[in-house]
């Protein structure tokens, strides 16, 4: 389904451009400018062009007379352009001096004298590609959230195109500012306009709030991070955006709460200066405390309580304001419902994978924070749910069906191949709304049964088939049967079989991470199992990982093939699934 934009009447309105220009001018001058820009930024020309954007509906979550909630995909590569005028400081030494503490300033005499030059910047060839989450209700107006960074590319042409240094700087700065504008200001503007249209009585209050916001935004250091959203729907503040772009952008953040990472970074840096800062890092158990809290956690983790935590943590993620968190979770959640149940039973199941989403009730989880930079391009955290539903479900329906009293601690697998997940996830996540979620979920979750016969093909000894069967025929007796392979850990294939069932729980946390972190995590996990469940052999872990990677990849591939071959077969298995909580009308 696609929209047909009526693009020209929008521009036919005489006052439209003026209004838009004013709004843009105020929006551009709202945040503090870099020292190189010495004047206000004025929007002198604005043209939306003649090519409308492409808009595609990916999902409609809620539809009623007075409300609407949906996810769209928007692509734009039109001929719109925008011309800005301002004045810039052309002396690099001047901007250098102005940003430095005066005590160590080299105090040049007039080498830093200012030379301001009027500057015209034309932004053209704007290419946008965004997933937009749109929420509309008659009471609250229209809310738009960009799920990713919509700006793909942009051409900045200016007065200084001949000077490489200035041109690069401008390109960089403007792209950054425009990202802020689109992600922060545009939703606010649209929201305000929609309020004016539909509920004028709320407008004055809204204006006040906006004013407060703008007042607070004058000092960027004093305010908490703004609501910038990165490619995966996580909140970022502008400073962080710049730093992230230096370190390779969104790849850097995967497992852990960005904020906590920032705080830890600040803590690590604090000893270099005389700063007395001790940031308050939430939801972290320090090593020193781990001794006491570890034990009860590992030994007595009933499968049901984490389940409760799961739901509460999802509720908790709503108040992060960027609805993208919520809804991205929701989309993942919808697909991965069965997996989540099983994952909840693991001691460190999804909690590691989606660290920042679990806000409430998970204080006892132990996390080892690894600040090493990631080597592999990690998967988006918010997609863990959906991806794990692919691989995880396919093997571990059993664990969802196991009785709640069953000790499920050792049922965690070590490794899931990233490639298969990455390949399959994009196909599943955004699907035409024609019963996509349920069918996908159904097909995937019942996948294992079809995959069962095929799995042992890959050089499994005959013994391996037995636990496999246990797993996929969902017999609660699986776990009593599995300790044998667990303890005799030197025998790789048997131990694999139990690992397969473990897989579902740790997959979400593991696959997104780099290798080094995995091992650390696993060691820790094993220490926990050491108290609660059968003792796996540490030395064989790496070997097992490689093995499991291979097997799991094979399984995932076969599941996918099977599913494609015979989609109707999967339909009937999961009629009883509850709707995803994110789409429940509120």
């Amino acid at each position: 389904m696609a929209f047909n934009f009526n693009w020209s009447p929008l521009t036919a309105d005489a006052g439209f451009y003026e209004r838009a220009r004013d709004l843009l001018t105020t929006a551009l001058n709202k945040s503090p400018k870099p020292p190189i820009i010495v004047d206000d930024i004025f929007v002198t020309e604005l043209n939306l062009g003649s090519v409308p954007p492409d808009l595609e509906i990916l999902e409609i979550g809620d539809l009623a007379e007075d409300r609407f909630r949906g996810i769209f995909k928007m692509c734009y590569s039109g001929d719109a352009f925008l011309t800005l005028a301002t004045r810039v400081q052309a002396n690099p030494l001047n901007t250098y001096i102005s940003a430095k503490p005066s005590f160590t300033s080299p105090e040049p005499l007039t080498a830093s004298s200012s030379l301001t030059i009027p500057l015209q910047i034309t932004l053209s060839e704007i290419k946008l590609s965004a997933f937009i989450i749109l929420v509309f209700s008659k009471q609250k107006g229209l809310t738009i959230v960009f799920r990713n960074d919509p700006l793909e590319s942009l051409k900045v042409s200016s007065t200084f195109d001949s000077i490489q240094f200035v041109r690069d700087y401008l390109q960089k700065t403007i792209e950054m500012k425009l990202r802020d504008l689109i992600m922060d200001e545009l939703p606010a503007i649209i929201h305000r306009l929609s309020l004016q249209l539909w509920c004028p009585d709320q407008v004055p209050k809204e204006d006040e709030e906006a004013k407060e916001e703008s007042d607070a935004a004058i000092n960027p250091l004093a305010t908490p991070p703004l609501d910038a959203v990165d490619a995966h729907g996580h909140r970022l503040d502008p400073a962080e955006i710049s730093s992230l772009s230096l370190d390779g952008g969104p790849e850097t953040q995967s497992l852990f709460s960005q904020r906590n990472l920032e705080k830890m970074d600040a803590l690590a840096c604090a000893h270099r200066t005389s700063s007395l800062l001790t940031p308050n890092i939430l939801e972290v158990v320090f090593r020193a405390w781990a001794g006491q809290s570890d034990k009860p956690d590992a030994t007595a983790t009933p499968a049901s309580t984490p389940n409760l935590h799961r739901t509460s943590s999802y509720q908790g993620s709503v108040h992060t304001y960027t609805f993208s968190d919520n809804s991205s979770q929701a989309s993942g959640h919808a697909l991965s419902r069965p997996t989540l149940v099983s994952m909840g039973s693991a001691t460190t199941g999804l909690s590691l994978g989606s660290g920042r989403h679990s806000k409430a009730g998970r204080k006892k989880k132990m996390r080892v924070v690894n600040l090493r930079s990631k080597t592999a391009a990690s998967e988006p955290v918010s997609e863990i749910g959906s991806t794990s539903s692919q691989a995880g479900d396919s093997h571990s329906e059993a664990s969802t069906r196991t009785p709640m009293s069953e000790p499920v601690i050792p049922t965690t697998i070590r490794e899931v191949p990233e490639d298969d997940l990455a390949a399959s996830q994009s196909k599943v996540r955004f699907r035409p709304p024609t019963d996509a979620t349920t069918s996908a979920r159904a097909s995937e979750s019942s996948g294992p049964r079809a995959a069962v016969p095929s799995v042992p093909v890959t050089a499994q000894p005959s013994r391996a088939a037995t636990p496999q069967e246990h797993v996929y025929t969902r017999q609660p007796s699986m776990f009593p049967s599995s300790p044998a392979p667990q303890t005799s850990a030197q025998e790789m294939p048997p131990s694999y079989s139990s690992r397969v069932s473990e897989k579902a729980e740790s997959t979400a946390s593991i696959y997104a991470d780099a290798k080094g972190q995995q091992q650390q995590f696993q060691q820790q996990q094993q220490q926990q199992w050491g108290r609660a469940g059968p003792q796996p052999d540490m030395s064989s872990v790496i070997l097992e990982q490689a093995w499991i990677t291979k097997i799991a990849g094979e399984i995932a591939r076969r599941v996918y093939d099977e599913k494609n071959r015979n989609p109707a077969f999967w339909e009937d298995s999961h009629q009883h699934d509850i709707p995803p909580p994110a789409y429940e009308p509120r």
């Binding site: 002396n91 160590t104 080299p106 040049p108 840096c269 700063s275």
Partner: protein, 477 residues
């Protein structure tokens, strides 16, 4: 107002005989201080102390909306005994005077910087004093200790002094540190560092190598921030700098037998100085940021009258930034001993932007806010009222048709002069620029506190003219 620690640092320079004005970035210091004097903001209290001759502390408490403060310590390896650190004794001109006289170029070897007296005070524009300065200073230098043989161990001992300074700003947790180390007569190294969390890499370090040969002064610097490399140089010629006697390390034979040839020498010098009575300085600076690949430069020239000049002391500078097309000219003069004026014009040949600013400094020997502090009639009215009342000729003299015998004057001249300097109670500074922004600052002493009250006024917005208000109180012991 110079901060107490700056005052102490200057005293250190004076004690070690370092001429901190002989460098390029002090080229237009006079007009800069007359025009760009800092205005206090909010309320600020400073308690300082020169606890021992080697050690000074200063505590500052300020309030501009939020309360902040700083603690600073300073250690000098040379005893700073020759200065007055008590706030009721600090000579105000040393602390507040903006107009800077040229220092003698021989300065690196001798203690020219005597803070106890106003450098302007003891110099009535008379040829005598001019000769005294031109002649006596070499005398002192030569007598003081074999300047040409300045590399003796004893002298090295004098010169290898160091100063350590640290300051912690409290709520910000900003730490400043400075080391000044003198290696030889002509070589001095400064390292300054700032540590703060918000800075990249947690802080910056600036290193300065200063080389002063009297006739020329060179300076190289490196800043860790952006890898900035800089080089500055200043060369003096004309006036005293051009005369052969002026090479500080090779005194002419004429000076050694100064007593005999004093008049001769003085006349010769005076004849030479008659033509110029000033000193020219030219210099330049060059910067290059090794990390951000940007640079900057400027060239400058200055003409300043020597202290021996009989007329109005003046300083004129012209600096050019050829890269940015900026031309900057300043002119400052000491119209009276109690009044200094300065103007500055900026023009950019590329953008046609121009700026001007004027500044003024007025010294007053009246009691500050006399109506508040008891309004006792100040002493200086009485001497003024007495001299006009001429003594009548004595009856004896009238009868004998002759004038009175000239009374033997007890020569009270020098003492009242110095006393009068001490009587300066305050100074009013004002500036105005082309945006019609005005700055007013009164600084002075009341009891043993040194006050500084300033305000910024925007004449464009007459309805709400006061842009800032501030009061600084400084006490030191």
């Amino acid at each position: 107002m110079r901060e107490f620690m700056n005052y102490i640092t200057n005293a250190f320079y004076g004690a070690t005989g370092w001429n901190e004005d002989n460098k390029y970035n002090e080229l237009n210091a006079t007009s800069r201080e007359l025009i760009d004097f800092p205005l206090p903001r909010g309320l600020r209290l400073t308690l300082s102390s020169l606890a021992t001759p080697h050690f000074a502390t200063s505590y500052q408490l300020g309030s501009v909306g939020v309360v902040d403060g700083s603690i600073s310590y300073l250690h000098s390896s040379i005893p700073l005994t020759h200065i007055a650190a008590q706030s009721d004794k600090i000579p105000l001109p040393a602390l507040l005077r903006c107009y800077r006289r040229l220092h003698d170029l021989r300065s690196p070897g001798q203690q020219h910087y005597i803070l106890d007296a106003d450098p302007l005070s003891g110099l009535p524009p008379s040829p005598q004093s001019a000769r005294a300065l031109l002649g006596a200073a070499p005398d002192a230098a030569v007598a003081g200790g074999a300047l040409d043989g300045g590399n003796t161990d004893q002298d090295l001992g004098i010169y290898t002094h160091s100063l350590l300074y640290g300051r912690l700003y409290l709520p910000k947790s900003l730490l400043e540190g400075m080391i000044i180390k003198r290696f030889t007569q002509a070589l001095q190294v400064q390292v300054r560092a700032v540590s703060e969390q918000s800075l990249r890499n947690g802080g910056t370090i600036l290193g300065l190598v200063q080389y002063d040969k009297g006739k020329y002064g060179l300076e190289g610097l490196y800043s860790t921030d952006g890898g900035l490399l800089g080089f500055r140089g200043l060369y003096n010629f004309g006036g005293d700098a051009s005369s052969s006697t002026c090479d500080p390390w090779t005194p002419t034979p004429g000076e050694n037998n100064n007593n005999n040839n004093n008049s001769n020498n003085g006349n010769a010098q005076a004849g030479e100085k008659e033509r110029i009575y000033g000193r020219f300085s030219v210099g330049g600076e060059l910067y290059y940021g090794t990390l951000n690949k940007s640079g900057g430069m400027s060239l400058g020239a200055r003409f300043a009258t020597l202290p021996a000049h009989r007329g109005t002391p003046l300083t004129a500078t012209l600096t050019i930034n050829p890269l940015m097309g900026n031309i900057n000219a300043t002119y400052a003069l000491l119209a009276r001993e109690y009044c200094s004026l300065a103007t500055r014009v900026d023009f950019n040949v590329y953008s046609y932007e121009s700026e001007w600013a004027v500044g003024m400094e007025l010294w007053s020997n009246r009691r500050p806010a006399g109506f508040l502090l008891g309004a006792s009639p100040s002493n200086d009215f009485e001497p003024e009222s007495h001299p006009p009342r001429k003594k009548e000729r004595s009856f004896q003299a009238k009868m004998e048709w002759r004038l009175d015998d000239p009374e033997p004057e007890p020569e009270p001249e020098p003492t009242p002069k110095t006393k009068k300097n001490d009587e300066y109670k305050g100074v009013l500074k004002a500036r105005l620029d082309n945006n019609l922004r005005m700055g007013l600052l009164w600084e002075g002493r009341a009891k043993s506190l040194i006050f500084s009250i300033g305000t910024g006024i925007d004449l464009h917005k007459l309805g709400e003219p006061f842009r800032s208000l501030g009061l600084e109180v400084q006490y030191s012991s």
